[in-house]
């Protein structure tokens, strides 16, 4: 039964939201999670790739939500030249619909209440503008539910932050407009992630082919909205599929947006905290947001529970400091790298690939690619150096 008060209301039951709910529950808070869709984990809006080390800090890898284990990746320059960098760890292609479900089950196991088909459309505020509850349409019924803290985990389409005046709008330069299909009836190497770069393939972004078993894959791309203005993501994807996988069956077709931006600031205002895509906690170079969203969720959940324990809501601001210390500083560097890479021409990319190919195979590492990029674009170093001098 739905109560009229919870200590914390989380809006959104993706990985960031349910992780926030889990750690807040562990910290002793009563937690309600509102999910606007009727299912947790569906529809999937994700390329589904994660690293082992990123995910294993939160959940033990389990074959039931791992479609494929990947051990290497290939980068394709615009001229078709391949670079196959050596990798240390392994990665996984997830089955997000099962993975998200598992995370929700863990949160529920610690006592969080999760309800679906629950659309939050506004906050309840006190006279000083602080959030003291959420207005929601729950299974078509209007409900007002009170709380002390609201955690906005409502994704790229986040509105929770806007309701307290946090600027969560993503610039069109930083927003990646994405389209993806899951195809089947193809043949591919199922231990390898493929990335394609170039202005004809995915301008201002990249195209990915992530295997899901031996004859199936997620094929998708993201392009900067700056570029999507001229030609939309779906057109680039259709062209690639026609060239590379003609005749493949398309099992799923999805669209999405990835905010490859700096983390939102502030992350906390008027008793509202933002986590995950809603907070732009996305690696701006890769567009990966599962692990970083879960880190944000964990920190926000822990801090919120602690603030309630201390009966001191000004402690919520500690979350932003912890985020910066744990992952935010890295995202700041990645953002600067992204800004420089996004100015690379096809010629630059080809040159980097060629330079790396001249190295002996065991020396073809991500570091070598980066050094080659630096060699061609010393300004990259200046951008990274800036972060250390403020």
């Amino acid at each position: 039964m739905l109560k009229d008060y919870y200590d914390i209301i989380v809006v959104g039951a993706g990985p960031a939201g349910t992780t926030a709910a889990r750690y807040a529950s562990i910290g002793g808070a009563s937690v309600l999670v509102l999910e606007k869709d009727r299912d947790v984990g569906y529809p999937v809006r994700c390329g589904e790739a994660v690293s082992h080390e990123g995910i294993a800090q939160f959940i033990k890898p389990d074959p039931k939500w791992i479609a494929t284990t990947v051990k290497r990746f290939r980068l394709f320059a615009p001229n078709g030249k391949q670079v196959i960098p050596k990798l240390d760890g392994i990665g996984y292609i997830l089955e997000r619909r099962i993975f998200d479900y598992e995370l929700a089950k863990i949160a529920a196991g610690y006592g969080a209440t999760i309800i679906t088909k629950a659309y939050a459309y506004d906050l309840i505020r006190d006279s000083s503008g602080n959030a003291i509850g959420v207005k929601a349409l729950i299974k078509d019924k209007e409900c007002n539910i009170n709380c002390k803290v609201v955690i906005g985990a409502d994704g790229v389409e986040s509105r929770v932050g806007r309701w307290v005046g946090i600027d969560t709008v993503c610039s069109i330069h930083d927003m990646e407009s994405c389209a993806q299909v899951t195809i089947s009836g193809i043949e591919l190497e199922d231990d390898c992630l493929d990335f394609y770069f170039g202005s004809n393939v995915a301008p201002g972004g990249y195209l990915w082919v992530f295997p899901k078993g031996k004859n199936s894959a997620n094929v998708g791309l993201g392009i900067s909205v700056d570029e999507a203005k001229k030609k939309s993501a779906i057109r680039y994807l259709e062209e690639f599929l026609k060239r590379t996988f003609p005749g493949a069956s398309i099992l799923t077709q999805i669209s999405g947006g990835v905010p490859c931006a700096r983390t939102c600031s502030p992350l906390v205002k008027n008793n509202v905290m933002l986590v995950g895509d809603a907070a732009h906690q996305v690696n701006p170079v890769s567009g990966g947001g599962i692990t970083s969203g879960m880190i944000g969720g964990m920190l926000a959940g822990e801090v919120a529970a602690e603030a309630l324990k201390q009966n001191n809501l000004s402690y919520l601001e500690e979350y932003e400091r912890l985020w910066k210390k744990r992952a935010g500083w890295k995202h700041e560097i990645y953002y600067r790298i992204k800004e420089t890479i996004s100015k690379f021409t096809d010629k630059d990319l080809n040159r980097i690939a060629e330079a790396v190919q001249t190295l002996p195979e065991e020396k073809q590492t991500l570091g070598a690619i980066f050094r080659s990029a630096l060699w061609n674009h010393p300004s990259l170093l200046v951008e990274i150096a800036k972060i250390f001098v403020g």
Partner: protein, 84 residues
């Protein structure tokens, strides 16, 4: 941006995947996205077109002549705005 009178942004019915990319770039909080229902809040939209550019699937269109004669879904819930 100045609010113009006519709404010129059109959501082609039946085409949307409800991914929210358009909402993420909307500077006016003028798009209401529910599970499988999307609409533009006419009172807020400035016809800036960022949503049109962002949409991966070309679901949103810009019609300079206005869209009043096209079939569309109206928003259901208007939240109170804090920042004006």
């Amino acid at each position: 941006m100045q609010k113009t009178k006519k709404l010129m942004i059109y959501i082609v019915p039946g085409k949307c995947d409800f991914c929210g990319c358009c909402v993420g770039v909307c500077p006016e909080d003028a798009i209401e996205l529910m599970e499988a229902r999307i609409s533009i809040i006419e009172e807020r939209c400035t016809n800036c077109c960022k949503c049109v550019w962002a949409c991966p699937w070309e679901v949103l269109e810009f019609h300079p002549e206005g869209i009043e004669n096209l079939p569309r879904i109206k928003p259901m819930y208007l939240n109170d705005r804090v920042t004006e």
